[in-house]
Symmetry: C2
């Protein structure tokens, strides 16, 4: 089948910039798409280049610049550190490559604007992701909300309690100025989920962030109130300090899909207490491409990811994730919608790029959408600092 | 033991004004307290008067005024409709009776002031309750927070999804102008829980309420963001439209203590759809004193009530209710604190009054505390209407 389709439809050749966790996690989705070819990667690690070339019979480069100039790629997946996204998006766009850039797209609205302009000026598609709003359960909630069968959506709530702050981190992940902390890195998922379900147009933000462990001096928690233009309200609560885990409320199912063990309490915090910062960066790097800690999800055996506990209230019913899809609490009955676990959020990322490039389907997660998410992240930080409500200016509606 | 203590300590003779659900629910707590004597009740129902007189060898009255003038009572428990609280508190205070008044104490800050002044001028104690912050698990959370063993409290979150709007209701319960709707009647519990745990001093409120079923035209939902002076943040989410129930997240344990059945979906909503408003008031009245629907909790066999799902985050640990007490998620371990279910929140109400009258112990839930809770309720309604943050002026600290 895949071979047949390849003959009929154009092939999109994609190169990966950066083979850390994000860069390697997307690979199965690229391999799975019938009309996408994984053709190159750039990384400073010689070891990773050699392994990648051998694994995929693909080109490898030391620099992102060389990758962007290669005539063997039509699109670049940019999975470099956040503070380099703008530079690398501009490089890719100027070389007429379509783009997927990891979230958060940037740390300032000015940089986001530069990226959007570069993509538009050069006539390339730019998608921002993977984020958890690409996941099939979240897309399905949006579909139900949009259908109107449960009336208007009025409340969207997400709680996520986990060990984020104590997982092995690179220095920039623990520095808010470089896009670190849970508001930039995890809020970007929560706000994306909430905006997608609620239609996108947030009116204002009131929030309080928390930096509770000065040895890891960035946001490790936040409490966020969002109001949509429509009057719908949302909250996003995050606590990454490795005490209570909200998997206790989500059937034990984690962000990656599998059921997680809670046999060992506070494992991440206690582990990280025992290693130095250099060693920590090394441990983190082992989770990247080819590393001994790289995760190999066999997604078909797992569940869809739970990015914490999400409950959505419409006027005539509520929706939340079930172990195998969604529970819909309607007027007369509660029922489950099964969603096959084989289709993943990362599959949706590459499909969104492909369909935008070859099938004229406007992407949901384009640069303006992602700039609007970034605006929410920045407003959360600002609201917390100023202790007041912040009104937004660059929100965009979901294109569905 | 009870008899011995009665001889040593003064006896507080209490009369009940109004024998609806609140008035009859408190009776077991009055009977249990070793130094309290249930000595009178006032109700317009001849049937209830006769049953009460026979059950407790107590005086009965047709009017609250007569009850307040009786020389056989030292204190009055006022469980009349909210819009009559001010009048009845003034009557009791002028007759030098100590007071317990049901929450919400009033619907305006002016009325709350009148009640506080009347109690102070006449030298009587006024307690407002029962509210769910009297419950032992909530008091225990406060004790842990106050001890500082988990560091500063930074986030307090409560979700409650249930069938409130579709339970049998009196007309005033469905009229916001008369103190109806979930913000006045149930928010008053949530905000009381949150304020008690967080120390009491709320700085501002941002909220959105929802009226989603125009056949029951009062608030049936709300989303509330609260910021304490300390910078701690809290959220209170309520949805009473009988779709998803948060008992799914609280071990099936309900507000009353027992594990509830979820075999029949949307039972309350579908039942109420079939009865008229007059019939509905009659059904409600059957849940009052002596009625065929009056609840008889054998509390010792049950759990402590779960007023929805509450999770409290301190800098160094989280706390939430367990089936038998609390789970504390500390730095090194998660452990459970067992709390005997025999002691109830309503026991704490009468103990707080007794100790204030005879043991010089300042009550937590006094008039100023309750006025501060009312201020939060009003700010929630106002924030929702004006769609902006509301700053508070009458908050009081917990006296512990």
């Amino acid at each position: 089948m895949a071979h047949l389709q390849r003959k009929e439809s154009p092939v999109l050749r994609i190169g990966i910039a950066g083979l850390g966790i994000a860069g390697s996690s997307i690979i199965p989705a690229f391999l799975k798409h019938p009309n996408v070819q994984l053709s190159a990667a750039a990384t400073r690690s010689k070891e990773r280049r050699e392994k990648f070339a051998s694994d995929y019979q693909a080109e490898t480069f030391h620099s992102i610049e060389e990758l962007c100039q290669s005539s063997s790629v039509d699109a670049i997946y940019i999975a470099t550190p956040t503070e380099l996204h703008t530079e690398h998006v501009l490089l890719a766009a100027e070389n007429k490559k379509h783009i997927i850039v990891e979230k958060p797209m940037a740390i300032t609205l000015e940089d986001a604007d530069k990226m959007i302009e570069a993509a538009e000026k050069n006539g390339v598609v730019m998608i921002v992701g993977h984020s958890h709003s690409f996941e099939p359960p979240i897309r399905k909630i949006r579909e139900i909300v949009r259908s109107g069968e449960l009336g208007e959506v009025r409340m969207i709530h997400n709680w996520y309690f986990n060990d984020w702050i104590y997982r092995p981190r690179t220095p920039e992940e623990l520095d808010t100025q470089l896009g670190g902390g849970v508001t930039f890195r995890q809020g970007s998922h929560q706000f994306d989920i909430i905006r997608l379900i609620g239609g996108g147009l947030i009116r204002s933000v009131r929030a309080m962030t928390g930096v509770w462990d000065l040895t890891r001096p960035t946001e490790g928690s936040h409490t966020v109130f969002l109001e949509f233009e429509s009057g719908a309200a949302a909250t996003a609560v995050y606590n990454g300090y490795d005490h209570f885990h909200s998997t206790e409320l989500t059937y034990g199912i984690s962000e990656g899909g599998p059921v997680v063990s809670t046999d060992v309490y506070a494992k991440s915090r206690r582990t990280i207490d025992q290693v130095g910062r250099i060693e920590e960066s090394q441990i983190k790097s082992l989770a990247g491409y080819g590393g001994s800690r790289a995760k190999q999800y066999d997604h078909a055996e797992n569940h869809h990811p739970f990015f914490g506990l999400t409950v959505v209230s419409c006027e005539k019913g509520d929706i939340r994730q079930s172990p195998n899809g969604l529970y819909v609490y309607g007027e007369d009955k509660r029922y489950e919608i099964a969603l096959p676990a084989a289709a993943t959020g990362r599959d949706a990322v590459i499909a969104e790029l492909y369909d935008a490039v070859y099938n004229d389907r406007p992407p949901v997660h384009d640069g303006r959408w992602a700039k609007a998410n970034l605006e929410v992240c920045l407003a959360v930080l600002e609201s917390s600092k100023q202790r007041k409500e912040i009104y937004l200016n660059y929100q965009t509606a979901v294109t569905d």
